[in-house]
């Protein structure tokens, strides 16, 4: 067990509740997605991948925007808690971007007939994935706490440019991937109401899960930081 001098924060105290809330929310969202919502007229039951695929993509966007905000906050204040938030969010973002790509590929095979297509949304998402893997590499190859945090913060600010590019790529260069169904420029979702409700429920469930994972990972990082600072004296 990692020894620590990190204080118990309100986020840490909220973690068990967030864990329970994410389990309940995920069960409800899965029931809505798999049982309650109707199959698609054209795709049939294959459409149900949509609920997890879109929720994963949303979480990836959210995570990388949080990395950006935490990076700005770190450079502004030099407080290590923001670096802990940035690394926690980046790791979760990379995980969910990877899952978005895998789930998208699984969905693409029955609908497009291929596992992968060189079209803008897929390429920009893969590029975003590679960029944030690089971000984690920079962090892991650096030993000094403050130096690592500063470099990662600079990179975290630069890399966020790709997030709107990924989202808008289907609007700018429409190819195989469908246009946005919810976050549209005219703010009018094109989904069936029950499908939209299921998608919103899944997105909320994933967001609660993100909050839970964040509290857990930030806590680990804070303990690591405390241990390094303690060893330094």
């Amino acid at each position: 067990m990692i020894s620590t001098t990190a204080k118990t924060t309100s986020a840490l105290r909220a973690r068990p509740f967030l864990g329970a809330a994410s389990v309940v929310a995920l069960f409800v969202a899965l029931w809505m997605a798999l049982v309650w919502s109707p199959p698609d007229a054209a795709m049939g039951n294959v459409v149900r991948i949509l609920y997890v695929h879109v929720a994963n993509a949303w979480l990836a966007y959210l995570a990388f925007v949080v990395v950006f905000l935490a990076s700005v906050a770190y450079l502004w204040t030099k407080r290590l808690v923001f670096d802990a938030i940035a690394v926690a969010s980046a790791e979760i973002g990379v995980l969910f971007t990877g899952l978005t790509l895998v789930l998208g590929s699984i969905w693409a095979e029955p609908t497009w007939g291929v596992w992968w297509s060189w079209e803008p949304r897929l390429i920009t998402t893969a590029v975003m994935f590679a960029m944030y893997v690089g971000y984690l590499l920079v962090r892991n190859l650096s030993d000094d706490l403050e130096r690592r945090a500063t470099r990662a913060a600079v990179l975290g600010i630069v890399l966020v440019v790709d997030v709107p590019i990924v989202h808008l790529s289907v609007t700018w260069m429409n190819a195989l991937h469908q246009l946005p169904s919810v976050l549209r420029p005219d703010l009018s979702p094109t989904l069936d109401p029950s499908m939209l409700a299921s998608l919103i429920a899944m997105t909320i469930a994933f967001t609660v899960l993100y909050a839970y994972l964040m509290t857990a990972r930030v806590d680990i990082e804070r303990r690591r930081q405390a241990r390094v600072l303690e060893a330094r004296g």
């Binding site: 590029v127 590679a130 960029m131 590499l137 920079v138 190859l141 600079v154 890399l159």
Partner: protein, 221 residues
């Protein structure tokens, strides 16, 4: 004052390169070998397609830029000269922008050598040479800020040689695509297409230079 310091760093870089032109010779040799091997591997017929020739050229030029930028910072690290520059007021800004400026000048030479080699090795009839020159110029100006950024971020890190291309290449994807399509358009006589891609490259250059100058000096330690 800052501009003067940037000019001093860039001039110092140029003097160092003139005295020991290892970076320039290394990059020129590297781009020549890479273009030769790439063209040989895919064959002369495939390589003569404008988009393919342009892609080979820009990939080779990007790696050459990484090589030159890494060498420029290695020279600073060898005798701890970097610490003295960073200790000066405004030294970080000057070091980043000066290095990026010097890299732009060096890359222009490497781009000319590489471009000449592509035209010799690949049977490519360029129908709009001025448009091609414009695309290459815009592309060369847009490369250094990102390449220097990644070299700075990987400075004094383990596995730096692998880390710099891992960081730089995904960030340079829009640049590489625009430069490749711009060159291909110019080579096949589509001047309006070449101008449009050049405009995009100029926009990238502006964004990259402003972003780099604003934020990268913070990472210089």
């Amino acid at each position: 004052m800052t501009l003067q310091r940037i000019g001093l760093v860039a001039a110092r870089e140029a003097r160092a390169e003139r005295g020991q032109p290892e970076g320039l010779i290394g990059a020129a040799t590297f781009i020549a070998v890479l273009i030769f091997v790439e063209s040989l591997t895919i064959g002369p017929i495939a390589a003569s397609h404008p988009a393919t020739a342009a892609a080979l050229y820009w990939i080779a030029l990007t790696f050459a830029a990484i090589l030159v930028a890494s060498r420029a910072f290695d020279r600073e690290l060898e005798d701890d000269a970097i610490d003295a520059v960073l200790a000066l007021p405004g030294g970080r800004d000057a070091l980043y922008a000066g290095k990026a400026l010097a890299l732009t000048a060096l890359l222009a030479i490497v781009a000319l050598i590489g471009g000449g080699l592509v035209l010799i090795l690949v049977p490519l009839a360029v129908t709009a040479p001025l448009a091609l020159a414009l695309v290459v110029t815009a592309g060369v100006v847009a490369l250094p800020p990102i390449v220097v950024l990644t070299v700075v971020l990987a400075l004094r890190l383990r596995a730096r040689g692998a880390l710099v291309p891992i960081l730089a290449l995904p960030m340079l994807v829009p640049h590489l695509v625009a430069a490749t399509y711009g060159c291909a358009a110019a080579a096949s006589g589509d001047t309006s297409g070449a101008f449009a891609w050049s405009g995009l490259l100029v926009a990238f250059a502006l964004v990259y230079w402003v972003l780099g100058f604003t934020i990268v000096p913070a990472a210089l330690e």
